[in-house]
Symmetry: C2
Subunit: 146 residues, 2 copies
Amino acid sequence: MIRLSTKGRYGTRLMVSLAQHYHNRRESIILKKISDEEEISIRYLEQIIIPLKIARLVKSIRGAGGGYILARDPSNIKLREILLALEGACCLVECVDDEDYCDRIKECATYEIWKNASSLLKDYFENTTLQDLVEIADKKNPSVRK
Amino acid sequence: MIRLSTKGRYGTRLMVSLAQHYHNRRESIILKKISDEEEISIRYLEQIIIPLKIARLVKSIRGAGGGYILARDPSNIKLREILLALEGACCLVECVDDEDYCDRIKECATYEIWKNASSLLKDYFENTTLQDLVEIADKKNPSVRK
DNA sequence: AGAATTCTTATAAATTTATGTTGAAAAATA
DNA sequence: TATTTTTCAACATAAATTTATAAGAATTCT
Ligand code: FES
Ligand code: FES
């Protein structure tokens, strides 16, 4: 029930990859590498990273030796920011964020429910940072040194 | 961020409508009426109600004077059951419910996050009944007597 | 100049969303 | 019981969106 789009999923994994590489030397990473590691089409990654760039969560460096790099420290990037950039502001149903979307809000009983449920997610994602994700990854794969 | 499909939204509103009509005489309701009240295409409602019927949440009565009616008392139908019937068992990402869906669960850091977030929603919807929704609707529209 | 990499645009496949058309089953009625 | 009405059921189709891939241009480094 209720689906996170592939954009949101792949984009988050992309950000985790960038964060995992962030600690040593802060070198930029090329998408090709992430594409290989995460087994996601590079063409699709190119589309997905655009909104992340627009939201100033990643910086791009063009040309040879270029690539992508996080714009801030992973501990300073909230999961909510990532999903906001990738999926837009809509929470479960559009009317939660855009009161003009449905013209039935005044009568609609489900509105309150979707709104509450959206808040649960929002709060959870607000309190999860990219650093938390990196730590989970490290715990799951203690041997991997990227 | 993260979207509930129209199937889930309209289907839930459909169930609320049925619940609102359930109290008096338990008469069956024709889809046309719900279509008019909720401004949803009747053809689309016909598609949406099929999984609800399969899940035995509603019963259909054919022929003249027929229509649809809730299979159980609204206080005995959980929102989670409704969404499960409409959207399937997948919670945010498929791998949460189907461990074979992704073959990266062992390494994937985001898995735990989507799983926790899914649990938040699941618990909320598990503890919300159709009766709760009807009461919200009544509170919002005290004058309406259907 | 040449290689590496992002950036841009195009396009195709799959899925979701929504409507239309026709037919079959059940109940009411005469 | 035959007829008619009401309603669900099934199938087909079209538009919109999401998902994914392809090809080439632009930029930067060496
Ligand atoms: S779904 Fe938007 S107001 Fe009910
Ligand atoms: S999204 Fe399924 S394991 Fe990471």
